[in-house]
């Protein structure tokens, strides 16, 4: 299975929970969750793809999901994303939920670095 398909598989299942749900699921996916003390360490990168390839594969997966949902919405006569049930697009004004993560882009990044 390609890296893109691996990401697409998990994102397909998580997407209906919306951006907040994705974050909660990822936050909970910690090996420390079952441990008494926080021992999480970064996995060895020796057996992983390069980071740039992992990032590209994630974005390929996101694009594939977007295409699927757009096609489904068109087939059902709905607007893509914006009215899709389950929260992925709902509440975010359409588009990808992370395009307007928590509306904080409206603030610029003034609180970034002080």
């Amino acid at each position: 299975m390609s890296l893109r398909l691996k990401y697409q598989t998990v994102l397909t299942q998580l997407a209906p929970a919306g951006a907040v749900g994705v974050s909660l699921a990822l936050g909970a996916a910690s090996p420390a969750a079952a441990a008494a003390t926080p021992t999480d360490t970064q996995p060895s990168v020796a057996d992983k793809e390069k980071v740039s390839e992992r990032l590209a594969a994630v974005r390929d997966a996101v694009a594939a999901l977007a295409d699927e949902k757009t096609a489904a919405a068109k087939a059902e006569g709905r607007l893509a994303w914006g009215n899709w049930g389950g929260g992925w697009g709902g509440g975010w004004g359409g588009g990808y939920p992370w395009n307007n993560w928590h509306n904080w882009r409206n603030w610029g990044n003034w609180f970034h670095n002080w």
Partner: protein
């Protein structure tokens, strides 16, 4: 034409406290910006057409609340009188919180000011660095301000500077925020900027410590859904990782005038806002001109700006060519490159390894740890169904 997205205004360089990691060199100076200087700035910003989609103004780089509410009432009224009809202007303060009282809460509410409070966690961690000039901790006064904001229903976020001690205490930090009803948090690391050399950056294993801290903090947050609405580092990383290919990364810190800073004398700088006030013979202390003597629109043609931009672009080119994380970063922070590596025209810094690379690693690692990654759909579906938000 440049577009100013963020205008940082220094109303006074003075700060009523004396944090051990502060990089601001002039924080004992009680000077105050003149109303004429503010008039020159805002009249030119609005006339330039450089802010025709709206403007965020941050009053900072000194403690903004050492000046009275009346100062800001006059300033905001003047700005309202100068701005084009319909142009949204949002004011924000980044404050140490020690001076917040009912009068400030009234004004913040009335003027819809965005508030960020700097607090470094529970008292033992906060008081290690955030101290008065006599060395006493400031936690009691800061938390009193935070509680006043909560009691009055004023929305705010906090920024906490992480040191080696707090990086080892994610649960204590998390419990503190929950106990105080703080639901929007941002983490900064103690950086090397100006004369300040970061003790944290010199610690062995600082990158691993940061990864472990965020990992555990995120896990705790996920175990308490709805308590923390915003964790900047996690939320920003996800936004940058899960964005579409076609949406490029816009590096505000490397774009001329996207962030424009003015000190109390009227000096103007751009790129990283921390640059204004720092010394650099090479770059004329980063000052492009003075709003009381120069026309704002002429500053875009200054040779100094072209020289800084060329060096910053050269650094970004190195990042683009050699860094695996370029697509989530866009070439990093000029101020950190200069003060860690000695030049804008460089690539990797400790700051970016900690705040960009390790956070990206964390999100990708979590994604790959989800049940179903590489196994088909059933296990992933089970993970999604177990998610507390549906």
């Amino acid at each position: 034409m440049p577009q100013i997205q963020l205008l940082v205004v220094q109303p006074t360089p003075f700060c009523n406290i004396d944090c051990r990691y502060c990089y601001l060199p002039d924080r004992t100076n009680k000077a105050v910006v003149a109303e004429e200087t503010l008039h020159n700035l805002f009249s030119q910003v609005f006339a330039s057409g450089w802010a025709d989609e709206g403007l965020s103004v941050v009053w900072h780089a000194g403690e903004p609340m050492v000046l009275p509410v009346a100062f800001y009432r006059r300033a905001f009224a003047m700005i309202d009188g100068l701005k084009p009809a319909g142009l949204p202007v949002r004011h924000s303060f980044q404050t140490n919180g020690t001076l917040i009282d009912d009068a400030w809460c009234d004004f913040v509410t009335e003027a819809e000011i965005g508030i960020g409070v700097s607090i470094d966690g529970p008292q033992p961690l906060h008081d290690r660095n955030r101290v008065t000039r006599s060395g006493r901790g400031t936690f009691d006064k800061t938390i009193a301000g935070v509680r006043r904001l909560k009691e009055r229903g004023v929305p705010f976020h906090v920024i906490s500077v992480l040191t080696a001690e707090s990086l080892a205490a994610p649960r204590e930090m998390f419990d503190f925020y929950l106990a105080e009803g703080i639901d929007q948090v941002c983490f900064n690391v103690e950086e090397s900027e100006g004369e300040h050399r970061s003790a944290s950056f010199a610690e062995a294993g600082i990158e691993d410590a940061y990864y472990r801290f965020l990992s555990e903090f995120w896990r705790l947050s996920a175990a308490h859904p709805g308590q923390l609405k915003f964790i900047r580092e996690i939320d920003d990383a996800q936004r940058n990782i899960f964005r579409p290919h076609e949406t490029g990364f816009f590096n505000q810190l490397a774009t001329p005038f996207a962030i424009t800073s003015m000190d109390w004398t009227g000096n103007i700088a751009t790129f990283s806002p921390e640059l204004l006030g720092l010394k650099s013979p090479l770059y004329d202390d980063f000052v492009l001109g003075n709003i009381n003597r120069d026309r704002l629109i002429d500053l875009a043609a200054r040779p100094l700006l072209a020289r800084m931009k060329a060096d910053i672009d050269a650094g970004i080119a190195q990042c683009r060519k050699g860094c695996e994380y370029f697509s989530v970063c866009g070439g990093g922070e000029p101020v950190n490159k200069l003060f860690e590596n000695g030049s804008f025209a460089t690539a990797e810094t400790t700051y970016c390894r900690i705040t960009k690379m390790r956070v990206t690693d964390l999100v990708l690692d979590r994604l790959e740890r989800l049940p179903g990654f590489g196994e088909g759909g059933e296990a992933a579906r089970a993970a999604a169904n177990a998610s507390p938000v549906g």
